[in-house]
Symmetry: C2
Subunit: 90 residues, 2 copies
């Protein structure tokens, strides 16, 4: 799992990034996403996000977490990280 | 390392928590701290924070990361996680 946290003062860029990240994972807090993607996918996501933010003004961090670490997550006021279902019954 | 992220609408509680967390690690973003503490210390911190927030209104998450995972962190606009020096030369 990858935790993405960001501080982006510019409204337009912030909304654009959060919309973009909706395609990768669950929005957990105002500027925190939990994305169940691989380490390589995290690196690819990082490259894509770099193109839409301004390092001089914006702050984005990508934390990689193993399944074991994810299981140790502690939460107050919300559910534990929930990986998407492995398959859907249609 | 432990990443603590929080969404706390109430100004007083939010400021109180961030002041409290200053004693445990580095403030990275508006509501994100990186704390170089052990897993057990994370559990102790969790219990202490539980006493000063309201689960019905507040959202706090504690992510445990191994040293290896920390080294894979990717950042835009800020430095990589920096563990405190192991010793100080006086």
């Amino acid at each position: 799992m990858v935790v993405v946290v960001y501080d982006i003062p510019d409204d337009k860029r912030r909304v654009k990034l959060s919309n973009f990240l909706e395609g990768y994972g669950n929005r957990i807090q105002w500027s925190v996403f939990e994305c169940f993607i691989s380490l390589n996918e995290m690196r690819e996501l990082y490259q894509k996000v770099k193109k839409q933010v301004k390092p001089a003004e914006d702050n984005v961090r990508f934390y990689w977490m193993s399944d074991e670490a994810v299981s140790m997550t502690l939460t107050i006021g919300s559910e534990n990280p929930e990986p998407p279902p492995k398959y859907y019954v249609i």
